[in-house]
Symmetry: C2
């Protein structure tokens, strides 16, 4: 026997924890070529994005480059997706800005230290979730809440970039503070900055809408056209940097990126100040969950295209390691980004090694290229952010949920409005809590149908929807929900009302086909119902009780005390208790 | 037509809001006699209880008397239960002690003002809940959480009375602070106080266990024996007060009730300090919900014995009015008490007027009797509290829930331990949040059974539990839970795994008989599942979709895009898709 393949054997544990041990065995020259090509393209795309998202988080531009080295290397070791590219991403950087803006002033060493600490806490939480297998917690973030949150974040990010595009100062992490601050600054707009920003934005929008068809008409393959389109921001940056240097825009008051220290990412260490940890704990948790959900959904989407699967728990581990890596190398919280991962995938990345090569590319850039970025206008970076995040904004979910389910609509709307008006943390929490509360509210008011026999069949249907046969001596109730503490009283009330309204009643039969669980509170309610009915000379019966529910009821003494019987099918119950309903000819009308 | 009975007519609204308008019309001499008798007995019982529960709350003894006048009168006007007696009760007084102990020192005017404010906030919240018809919120307090909370409160109250029984000083609202404080005082125990307390406790316990059988043997009717037993604390108080006065126990260091001002309850007004409101808001909410749940369960239990019903929303209104009344007449938060209501019922109270007569009795006592209570030893009152609350302590719920459902056990245990160790508010909140979290967790991991045809029938059962017929080309899954955001991914994972394990698969049929709702997240998951299955050459079908779920699905474009069909019954689906399963002779084994 091969002990190495024994489940739980060391080799097995290592292979599970380090997916790189698997793919590296079959790594060949062909894969190397594909990965290197993809890495080259992603590097070109990541340099401006890294700088821009660091500025979005309120941090020095080089922090973005640092956060695109160690995290990418660590993801290559631990990650299970062959295409996912991690690094600073728009939504997480916005959440980082809000979190660290609350504990330190931008531009101070404490601000940078807070970002490291946030990345460290987020990484530690993700690792803890991986070890405790708590990845399922992410499913409590409903799709409508995520949609609302991502759309609102996109708008909020675009709004934060307005000040850079206008060349003014304004701060705020929600529209209610940001927009008035911008309005007060409208008199101070810097013309040249605005011109640069507008030109860059227009160019990038044209690239998205107009360049790809043009290139395709020029007989480039659709894939090559797509790649060229994705690399266009680099052209915008090169041109505007060159113009800025040649025409001395900095001297005319245009904000440029300025001095970026040349060198390897520094070795850093998060703060261990308990007060800072307390202040950052909730934001770190939200960033962990949002980053994880974003990464997994990107990873799954891309994996499905190649009929592969990614392992959510492994992703928790890999993201946790990436964030710890960011915390130790001068970075900020990172996550898997959609557009860069899609570019990586489309460019043909075959293994996570592509991520490692990208990391080396960014490293080379931070060693060699940074002096060239000195004159890069910040307005150009703001333009790349605005154009990138506008694709996040999608209000169609409002219309769809309005038509489909008002509870989902309420969750989207609360998340959207909450995030825009009160900031990312409040908005996200409001959405999550509201969606949970609405679910609990819905289950606390179960649909309870009074059912009757469909003539000529053994089927029972709602008396309000169908022409069915019933008896004044028998009440058939189908409860369309598991019985638990929050809805136990509803059933009591419904039966009390029915008993009062139906004086000839002798039997109540609960059709339990949709009851998946009966908790201790509901069991007490059933006992109370049975006692009350018995006192009124009415018997309580059950039908179609599921296996697991029956197992549980048999562990209590409810069934021994029950005034009525338990029937396998509802038809058997009605046939035994009121044979006239089953035997009689179909009722007229 | 009688416009007065038109729904919504003024008379109708008044009759609904003021149940007293109904019962007062048929009030006759017989009802008056019955109510007066019951009121006399309850008054005797309430005097010591009122004093004792005020002391338990850390307030002057007379506050308890004041809280037993206006609230009883207001309940008589607004209440729907003919037997419920409101006033200071053990658990709510303990919660009051914890709440006001946190904002002011005992014995200060601020402490008394905090109690008034707490009663005011609680009354206002109850009224708001009545107006917004939010009484259903109380059902989120599960039976196990209530049981655990009441038992823990009983123990905690008994522990707080130990200091009075030992004649020492010790403070704390949870066992972790209270027990060490008591232990440090063991050297200072006051012998005479301890002797009085032990004698009173022993007498009261004997009354409960031994007196009733003795009286019955002395040929008293069981009801009369029961009444005499319930009035015994009055005897204990009379005797110990007389001894205390005669032997000058106060001079020997025994703590007595002391001076109680003689007179009508004062007109008071709560504080409107926003900081105080903020500090008391959560305790007031918890007190409102606990008091409401306690009142309604007492009221319903007694109403059921007479085949009457009480209206929970009306009870909210009546309790709210009672608490506002307490706030304006020098009282503390009140609720319906179990033992006094049961005594009222057993003594034959016919209408809420009995409560009004009790109020007059207490008023007379506070005008005339208070000087006589000067020498009443506090240890005697502590003994009455200890004996009364020990009946609240019932640990059998731990064993029952352990056997029946571990989630319920966890909720009881958390509430019990949390309340004892961390205090009433933390314990109650922990229990409520844990029971909600466990419910959400349970529904997020639904039972999904792979089902097969029971040979010779049209029924389908779990393949793991029954010998059933299946086909390698068809997977029948029955999801035993409504599909919503928290469990949508579970279904995706389950189907992904099944598809990977069953290479011959061509059809997946979801039997939806237990699916009571599909929210927007779950709809997206179903669409994703359908897309993925379709790409693998597999069709997704649904069967036995309920009416309301079908209505909703038809508002989306899911059914148009679905790769498979929707079948009315699961048997029809299997017969249409894999006729060989239905047609073939029963499989051997």
């Amino acid at each position: 026997m091969n002990t190495g393949s024994r489940p739980g054997g060391l080799a097995q544990v290592l292979a599970r924890t380090l997916p790189c041990l698997q793919w590296s065995r079959q790594y060949d020259r062909e894969a190397l070529g594909a990965d290197l090509l993809a890495a080259g393209i992603v590097t070109l795309m990541l340099i401006p994005q890294s700088l821009a998202y660091a500025l979005l988080a309120g941090l020095p531009a080089e922090v973005g480059l640092y956060a695109s080295v160690a995290p990418l290397l660590l993801y290559a070791v631990f990650g299970s997706s062959s295409a996912l590219a991690v690094g600073p991403v728009a939504v997480v950087s916005l959440m980082t800005a809000a979190a660290i803006g609350g504990v330190a002033a931008a531009g101070t060493p404490a601000h940078v230290a807070a970002a490291l600490t946030l990345a460290f806490l987020s990484g530690a939480m993700l690792l803890a979730m991986a070890l405790l297998r708590l990845g399922f917690l992410a499913s409590f973030l409903s799709h409508p809440v995520i949609s609302g949150f991502v759309s609102a974040s996109g708008l909020l990010i675009a709004a934060t970039q307005l000040k850079t595009l206008l060349g003014v100062q304004a701060s705020g992490h929600d529209l209610l503070t940001l927009l008035p601050a911008l309005a007060r600054q409208l008199g101070n707009v810097h013309g040249l900055t605005l011109a640069v920003g507008v030109c860059a934005t227009a160019f990038l929008l044209w690239v998205r809408r107009g360049l790809k068809p043009l290139l395709q008409r020029a007989s480039l393959s659709p894939r090559a056209a797509d790649m060229a389109t994705k690399a266009a921001p680099v052209a915008a940056i090169a041109v505007s940097t060159a113009l800025s240097w040649a025409l001395d825009w900095q001297g005319q008051g245009v904000q440029v990126v300025g001095h970026i220290p040349q060198g390897l990412p520094p070795l850093t260490w998060p703060s261990f100040d308990p007060a800072l940890w307390q202040a950052l704990a909730l934001p770190a948790l939200l960033i962990s969950v949002v980053g994880f959900v974003e990464s997994v959904s990107v990873g799954q989407t891309l994996a499905a295209r190649r009929r592969e699967r990614i392992e959510p728990n492994q992703e928790l581990l890999a993201l946790g390691a990436s964030n710890l890596g960011a915390a130790c190398t001068g970075g900020l919280p990172v996550s898997g980004g959609f557009s860069r991962s899609a570019v990586n995938f489309d460019a043909g990345a075959r293994t996570p090694a592509a991520g490692a090569y990208t990391a080396l590319g960014i490293l080379a850039a931070s060693l060699l290229l940074t002096p060239a970025l000195h004159h890069l206008p910040q307005a150009t970076l703001a333009a790349t952010i605005v154009v990138a995040v506008l694709s996040l904004v999608d209000f169609s979910v409002l219309r769809r949920t309005w038509v489909y389910a008002r509870a989902d609509f309420a969750a989207v709307a609360a998340t959207l409005v909450g995030t825009l008006a009160l900031g990312v943390e409040t908005g996200l929490l409001a959405g999550v809590l509201l969606s949970l509360a609405l679910y609990l509210l819905r289950t606390s008011r179960p649909h309870i149908a009074s059912v009757g026999l469909v003539p000529g069949t053994e089927h029972f249907r709602n008396v309000l929807r169908h022409a069915v046969r019933t008896s004044p001596a028998l009440l058939s109730l189908r409860v369309d929900e598991s019985l638990y503490f929050a809805n136990a009283r509803s059933l009591e009330d419904r039966i009390n009302d029915a008993v009062a309204a139906q004086p000839a009643l002798r039997h109540v039969v609960l059709q339990c086909s949709a009851i998946n669980d009966i908790d201790a509170s509901a069991l007490e309610s059933l006992e109370a119902i049975d006692l009350r009915l018995r006192a009124a000379g009415i018997a309580l019966h059950l039908s179609e009780v599921k296996g697991p529910v029956m197992d549980r009821l048999q562990r209590s003494d409810f069934l021994q005390g029950l005034s009525g019987r338990v029937f396998l099918s509802h038809y058997q119950a009605v046939a035994a208790l009121t044979p006239e309903v089953v035997a009689a000819p179909p009722a007229t009308g």
